[in-house]
């Protein structure tokens, strides 16, 4: 790899690597690592728009004559494509570098909106599905993992905080897009012309917004370390390795699959509440003296979004101090206790219900944001972005599992004539069970067997065991 200083001074010749290549993104001298989080945020704040898709649902349904299921399809396909492109594109992202990945994400995400604009303007629903869901969804997946590896390499001393900032951006993207898209629809109208114009503006504005990330992102020179920090210092903590494991080898380790279960069940527990938050709080307190109005339920959903977003940065940063394994003990253990309190308290206390739900959602966000740092601890920085991409398949499964459990049980309860908290009691105990299984999976995580470690170039002997080998230790 070219040295940082050389890159910035070497004139670009016809044989120079392309602007998007990894070697052209090596940071010049005096470059601050604190310029990398805004680059990551410019991508994550944009693609986080996906969670605000519901703003477009009613206008699409009325103008194109769609059912609720049909209007949800572009979003659902987008989330499926997010998982698939993150899983299968992770290795390519590692090889090509963050600028290439952010450029691909920008191109796909913006093109998705432009195709959707064309689809709505021509009243072609399937072009909207293809544009936003398929093409835009690739932009979501590649964009989601694009800055993770780079941030971890710039912040090896605080990986939880660094990835927490970026992944908080994904939660924050909906906070921006929801009112912005609503205001745009108010201005342009909710007919096909208005929606098409809104999609067009979204595509263009997001292209400009994300392009700053493309231009700004830099990778550290090989061997770069924060001043005064050494890998050995961090590796003095159990479970943190200085070795590297490839993505191909990582998925052959029990650690990867334990962490897959941890993420899947933590997300399932959170998304079960998040997806049904408004009807859930209304059902819970419907038979009390102070039932929850529709407006207040919407406020509850907004509060949950805030808890989800705040948890991403707060808990992920906390994991840098107390260790990743301990942090997941809190997410899964305290999360299970919160669910238990909700199940036992029923509709006796609204504040208690809200506090517990906020705690669960903050752990849901924290679980997402902390997992890249956990992967870095276990597998090193070599292909952490690609490993993260493969782990995100757990999100895809949980995205189906959580709502399925809660909705199916509530629907069956309503069909049987039940009401109030009893509609959810079984779901709550299932979530507790899943969190307990996730807790046990977290307990099983040990340092990776050195047989999976990458050998340094020229090494003829087997790698030394990692510095962190104290089995069962918790930080």
């Amino acid at each position: 790899m070219t040295m940082a200083g050389e890159v910035s001074r070497t004139p670009v010749s016809p044989t120079s690597p392309g602007f998007l290549s990894r070697s052209r993104t090596v940071a010049p001298p005096a470059w601050s690592r604190w310029l990398v989080p805004p680059a990551a945020l410019s991508v994550h704040l944009a693609i986080g728009q996906a969670y605000a898709w519901s703003v477009f649902k009613p206008p699409l349904e009325s103008s194109l004559g769609l059912t609720g299921t049909a209007s949800a399809l572009p979003f659902q396909l987008g989330i499926v494509m997010l998982g698939l492109s993150a899983a299968f594109g992770g290795t390519l992202v590692e090889r090509k570098g963050p600028r290439w990945a952010m450029f691909v994400s920008m191109t796909c995400f913006s093109s998705g909106f432009l195709l959707s604009a064309l689809g709505v303007a021509t009243r072609n629903y399937w072009l909207v599905v293809l544009g936003y869901g398929l093409v835009g969804g690739i932009g979501l997946g590649i964009g989601y993992i694009s800055p993770v590896s780079t941030l971890i390499k710039w912040f090896p001393d605080r990986p939880g905080m660094a990835t927490g900032i970026a992944i908080m951006g994904f939660g924050g993207g909906a906070l921006i897009a929801s009112p912005w898209s609503s205001q745009m629809l108010d201005a342009f109208g909710t007919g096909t012309d208005g929606i098409a114009k809104a999609f067009l503006v979204h595509g263009l504005v997001y292209a400009v917004f994300m392009s700053v990330g493309v231009l700004l992102v830099r990778v550290p020179p090989d061997g770069w370390l924060p001043r005064g920090w050494t890998p050995a210092k961090a590796a003095a903590r159990p479970l943190i390795t200085t070795a590297d494991v490839s993505a191909r080898n990582a998925i052959r380790t029990p650690q990867f699959w334990c962490l897959w279960i941890v993420l899947c069940f933590n997300v399932t527990a959170g998304i079960g509440i998040l997806e049904k938050a408004a009807p859930m709080i209304r059902d819970f307190f419907s038979a009390t003296a102070t039932p929850v109005a529709a407006g207040a339920a919407a406020g509850f959903v907004a509060l949950l979004s805030l808890a989800n977003m705040t948890g991403r940065i707060v808990w992920s940063s906390t994991s840098d101090l107390i260790g990743r394994k301990n942090m997941y003990r809190v997410y899964l253990g305290a999360g299970a206790l919160f669910y238990l309190v909700i199940a036992l308290a029923g509709n006796s206390s609204k504040p208690l219900f809200i506090i517990c739900a906020l705690g669960i959602l903050s752990f849901y966000g924290g679980g997402f944001a902390t997992v890249p740092a956990y992967l870095k601890d276990l597998f090193g920085t070599y292909q952490v972005g690609a490993i993260h991409g493969r782990l995100l398949t757990a999100w895809s499964i949980a995205g189906v599992l959580g709502p399925l459990i809660v909705n199916a049980i509530a629907d069956a309860g309503k069909a049987a004539g039940r009401s109030g908290p009893t509609l959810y009691t079984t779901s709550l105990y299932i979530m507790i069970g899943l969190l307990v299984v996730g807790f046990l999976a977290n307990e099983l995580i040990r340092p990776v067997n050195p047989v999976h470690h990458e050998r340094p170039a020229g090494a003829l002997t087997r790698p030394e065991p990692p510095l962190a080998t104290s089995q069962g230790d918790a930080r």
Binding site: S32, G172, D222, W224, P226, A302, E454
Partner: protein
């Protein structure tokens, strides 16, 4: 804000991992010294970059609190 980076010579191939325990340490502080043109340029860039993402984010948080105030504050 800090500029705590120490560029180190790289002699390994792109993307190749270093040996466990053998990650090369930086030879010294290679960043531009205080008062250099680079430092000033990057400080401006830092402010602009954080404003670029911070302002839309602040707008989103403001809108959220407006919603909460309307719902719970009357």
């Amino acid at each position: 804000m800090t500029t705590d980076r120490d560029p180190a010579p790289a002699d390994s191939g792109p993307g190749r991992p270093s040996a466990p325990g053998e990650i090369p340490l930086a030879p010294g502080d290679g960043s531009a010294g205080g008062g250099s043109p680079d430092t000033g340029r990057y400080t401006t860039l830092m402010v602009l970059a954080w404003a670029w993402v911070g302002l839309p984010f602040a707008y989103g948080v403001y809108e959220l609190f407006q919603k909460l105030t309307q719902l719970f504050g009357g």
